[in-house]
Each structure stands twice: as structure tokens, then as C-alpha cells.
């Protein structure tokens, strides 16, 4: 087996299953098998998916700096999958809000989108992520040429929107949003540094 085959048949399935663990644990908790949710399960589900979307975007953005730091170039082969899992958790977070929290009531949904800036931010991030997910196929990437890279650079903006969305949403204690903001600052800072070094 060569390296490419090892990644495809061993590495990727392992990473794929690992990325699914948070979702499986959540299902387990909903069914009271692996744990249990609070008396307000909808809020728990919303929080869990949202938190994991943020974690996955951080993990995805950590791939390139980590690859440069360690020289493990094979890491970049997992970048698309990690990005798609970011989309998966963000989309589940969005769908939970849409179906379980807003109960598909159009008036409530539009009120939230228009009147609540933190929801406008989150919604923008999800729509944008969807665009990145839809253009993630190799064939599309080839067709788009240079535009693809330009579009996908916007993942940084999405990460900022995501953290901002979380920061604005919390009632009082911003200690967790601060952690995400700090990680994101480091991840973006590394890129800025290397950009200035090159130019």
C-alpha cells in the first residue's frame, strides 16, 4: 500500500469516524444511553452542535500551521473532510434552531433574522459555509480555477462571524467565547505573520 492508499483506506475512515463521535454521543445522550440532556434538551442540542461547529472550524484552520510546523504534509489531505464536518455541525446547529427552536414558523424566523444581529451573523456564516461545501468537490474546484481559492479564503471571515455570533449570544459569561476568539487570533496571526514575511 502506498501513502495515498493508506490515507484513503485507513486514515480517512478513521478521521471520519472520529469526527462523527460528537454527533453519536449527542444521539446517545438524547436516548439516555451515553448520558442525559438537561430539562431543556432543545437548548442542549443547539449548544452542542454550535460548539462543535466552532471547534471544527478551529481544527480545520489549524491544519496548515500544524503542517508547516511539523512538516507533516499528509495532514493537508484531511483538510477538506474537516471543513465538511464544520459545515455538518453548523448545518445541524442551524436546522435545530429552524425546526426545534423556531418550529418552522416563518414570522418567528424572519423576526429573528432581521431584529437580532447575532442571528443574522450566524445565518450569514451558515449560508457562506454552504457555498464552500458545495464548491468543495474536486471537479468544481478545477472548473473554478483561481476563483476557487479566492472564495475559500473567506473561511477566515466565516470563523470570525462564528465566534462573534457566539460572543453576542451568551447572557453574561463570555469566558468560552474568549477562548475561541483567542485560538482564532493565534490561527489568523500565524497566517498574517507568514504573509508579511513572504512579501
Amino acid at each position: 500500500m502506498n501513502t495515498l492508499q493508506k490515507t484513503r483506506f485507513i486514515g480517512k475512515p478513521i478521521v471520519f469516524l472520529a469526527c462523527l463521535i460528537p454527533a453519536l454521543l449527542l444521539v446517545g445522550d438524547i436516548l439516555d444511553l451515553t448520558g442525559s440532556l438537561s430539562a431543556n434538551p432543545v437548548e442542549d442540542i443547539l449548544d452542542r452542535f454550535g460548539n462543535w461547529a466552532l471547534r471544527f472550524i478551529m481544527i480545520t484552520l489549524a491544519v496548515t500551521p500544524l503542517r508547516r510546523l511539523t512538516g507533516w504534509n499528509w495532514l493537508s489531505r484531511f483538510r477538506r473532510m474537516l471543513g465538511l464536518f464544520t459545515f455538518f455541525y453548523a448545518a445541524m446547529h442551524f436546522l435545530t434552531w429552524l425546526v426545534l427552536d423556531r418550529e418552522l414558523r416563518l414570522a418567528d424566523i424572519s423576526e429573528d433574522l432581521i431584529e437580532r444581529p447575532f442571528i443574522t451573523l450566524g445565518f450569514t456564516a451558515v449560508v457562506w459555509l454552504t457555498a464552500l461545501a458545495l464548491t468543495s468537490f474536486t471537479a468544481v474546484r478545477r472548473q473554478m480555477g483561481r476563483n476557487w481559492q479566492t472564495l475559500h479564503y473567506s473561511v477566515y471571515a466565516i470563523a470570525v462571524l462564528g465566534v462573534w455570533h457566539y460572543w453576542w449570544q451568551v447572557k453574561k459569561d463570555v469566558s468560552e467565547p474568549i477562548i475561541y476568539a483567542a485560538i482564532l487570533t493565534v490561527l489568523l496571526g500565524i497566517r498574517l505573520l507568514s504573509y508579511f514575511r513572504r512579501s
Binding site: 438524547i30 438537561s38 430539562a39 431543556n40 418567528d108 431584529e115 437580532r116 453576542w168 453574561k172 459569561d173
Partner: protein, 334 residues
């Protein structure tokens, strides 16, 4: 820390108790179904002859052991007929920042909290002031059960069978002077017992207040029990405020100070975010929180797909309290 009464067999209960001696035996808590049956039974007795209703207590006695049954509790016509939430929901899903910011923190962190001995200081514009031992403080009043809706500012709600004393009775007992326009309350501020106080989430101690007219309305109570038993620590033992037409954060817990004042007292959430939490904090479906709608609420305890319900003006207590605000712009005075 979560348990479901009735799920454990007898053997499991005993072994579980050996492992975790501090855990409350599920059998110590009246199961909700027994509780409801008992209510029906009492109601039936009342219809049959009235003799089965316990006579109103001459003085409120609150036993000092955890979850002990409160004696001499009378029923109240202010109670709702809606089905109360389970004891588990009420005692495991709590906002009590002195014990942590998570809803599941208070049940764990308040485990070793000591609600006795307890002193309540009454001060300010009143005829009777001083420091009172909790038992002496309670004595002049009657214990009543009040089953109230509780609407949290976070857009969820519960129905809770409180046991408590009428706040109006308490206020009158301390003989407020004509200068007393407000009643202010403070929660215990004890870092050694309340780990959440180390964080600066709010400006401690937790403070709340009511106008004197609100405080002498018949609805508010100082609660000392839930489901006929001594109130669990995480719900604000030994004594907390319940104002059913206002958002839950008005219900200051573990009260150590009551102050009659001529000026409006500072209140914790209003101090923290004045544009989000007002002094009045009346439940109002027409005035949204800046970050979420208050038009509907999720009743805790429903299934995952249970629909939310419409939030009612004054949480459905308008008949009793709307007159208090007839000259007030409730949009501005939220």
C-alpha cells in the same frame, strides 16, 4: 447527580446509597404521581366534609433536615390547576450563579451548602427591625402551598408547587413606615460555600427589589418548600422570593437581608445589563429581550418536538396585578 425516582430497584437503591451516602433516597421524595394522588385525595376529603384538610398552622415551622415534610401547609386559591413539573426538573435545572453558571451546576455545587443556622437582617424604614434567627422569622406566618407558573427571562417556563409564606404578611409584620416605597432583598454572599462567587459574572451580593405595592400584593411569597418538602439548596434554601408575574431572576434566593427603602434599590441583572433587564421585569410577550423574542416560551418537561406556548401578559396573573401598572409605560419600564 441525576436520578429518576422509581427507576432503581430496591437492591440497587441500597447499594447506590452505600456508594453515595449523601444522595437523597428517591423514596424520601414523594413521587409526582403520589403527590398528585394525595392532592386529589385531600380535595375529595374536602368535598366530603372538609375535616381532612389540615388546619392552618398557628406558626410556620420549617424542619432543618433536608427535604423533610413541612407541617401544617394549607392550600391556596391562587394555585394554578396546571400540572406541576417533576421534582427532578425543578431541582436539576437551575439558574443560581452563586453555584456556577451552568444550569446543572447548582444541584452539584450546593450539595454541601448549609441553610442552617440562618439569620435574616431586616432594616430600613420599618417599625420592627433587627436580626432574626430563621425559625423566629418564620413563626408569625402561615405556610401555604402556591402552585405557580414560573417564566424565566430565557424564554422557558415551569409550574412549581411552592410552599411559602405570604410576602404581604411579612411586610405588614415589620410595619414599614410611610417612607418605605421599596423592599430590597439580598442573597447570602459567602465565598466559602458558594464557589460561583469567585467568578465576576455579577456584582455580588445578588440583589433584587419590589415596590411596596408589589410586595404587599397577595401573590408574592417567600418560599421555603417545594412539593410539600423543605426547599432544596439549589432552589434557594432556606428562603427565597417568588413573584409569579415577573421573570424568574426577580426571585432572589437564599435571602439574608430585607431592607425597606425610600429609594429604588439597585438590582443585580439591571446593574449588569440595564438595556436588557429592567427593574420591573414583568413577564411581557410584547417587549422582547434585545437578543430573543419573549412572545413564546418552552415549557420544560415536554418532548423534544413539543411545541412552545404563547407567553401571557404578566405570566397570566393580570387579574391580580395589572392594576399596579395602569399608569406605567410598560414598554419603557420593562
Amino acid at each position: 447527580m441525576r436520578f429518576r425516582s422509581g427507576l432503581l430497584g430496591k437492591y440497587d437503591q441500597e447499594t447506590a446509597l452505600k456508594r453515595r451516602p449523601k444522595l437523597i433516597r428517591p423514596s424520601e421524595i414523594t413521587s409526582e404521581s403520589n403527590y398528585i394522588n394525595r392532592r386529589d385525595f385531600i380535595r375529595a376529603g374536602a368535598i366530603a366534609g372538609g375535616s381532612l384538610i389540615a388546619p392552618s398552622a398557628l406558626s410556620a415551622v420549617v424542619p432543618d433536615n433536608r427535604l423533610a415534610t413541612l407541617p401544617g401547609v394549607s392550600k391556596s386559591s391562587y394555585s394554578t390547576a396546571e400540572t406541576p413539573n417533576s421534582f427532578e426538573d425543578i431541582s436539576t435545572y437551575n439558574n443560581f450563579y452563586e453555584f456556577g453558571l451552568g444550569k446543572d451546576d447548582p444541584v452539584v455545587e450546593a450539595e454541601n451548602f448549609k441553610p442552617r443556622p440562618w439569620t435574616i437582617e431586616v432594616s430600613g424604614e420599618a417599625g420592627k427591625t433587627g436580626e432574626f434567627d430563621f425559625d423566629d422569622f418564620m413563626k408569625p406566618f402561615d405556610l401555604e402551598e402556591r402552585i405557580y407558573r414560573m417564566r424565566c427571562v430565557e424564554a422557558w417556563s415551569m409550574v412549581i408547587p411552592w410552599v411559602g409564606i405570604s410576602l404581604a404578611d411579612v411586610v405588614k409584620h415589620f410595619q414599614p413606615t410611610s417612607k418605605a416605597q421599596y423592599v430590597a432583598f439580598e442573597t447570602l454572599n459567602d465565598r466559602s460555600q458558594m464557589p460561583g462567587l469567585r467568578g465576576r459574572s455579577l456584582d455580588w451580593p445578588y440583589r433584587e427589589g419590589l415596590t411596596i405595592a408589589e410586595a404587599t400584593n397577595p401573590l408574592p411569597i417567600l418560599a421555603v418548600g417545594i412539593y410539600g418538602k423543605v426547599i432544596p439548596n439549589q432552589n434557594g434554601a432556606p428562603i427565597r422570593l417568588v413573584v409569579p408575574w415577573k421573570y424568574g431572576f426577580k426571585g432572589v434566593k437564599s435571602i439574608v437581608k430585607i431592607h425597606f427603602s425610600s429609594t429604588r434599590p439597585k438590582t443585580s441583572w439591571n446593574m449588569a445589563a440595564p438595556n436588557e433587564y429592567g427593574f420591573y421585569a414583568n413577564v411581557n410577550p410584547d417587549v422582547n429581550h434585545p437578543r430573543w423574542s419573549q412572545a413564546r416560551e418552552r415549557r420544560i418537561g415536554g418532548s423534544l418536538f413539543a411545541s412552545k406556548q404563547e407567553t401571557l401578559m404578566f405570566n397570566g396573573y393580570g387579574d391580580e396585578v395589572a392594576h399596579l401598572y395602569k399608569d406605567l409605560n410598560l414598554r419603557r419600564n420593562f
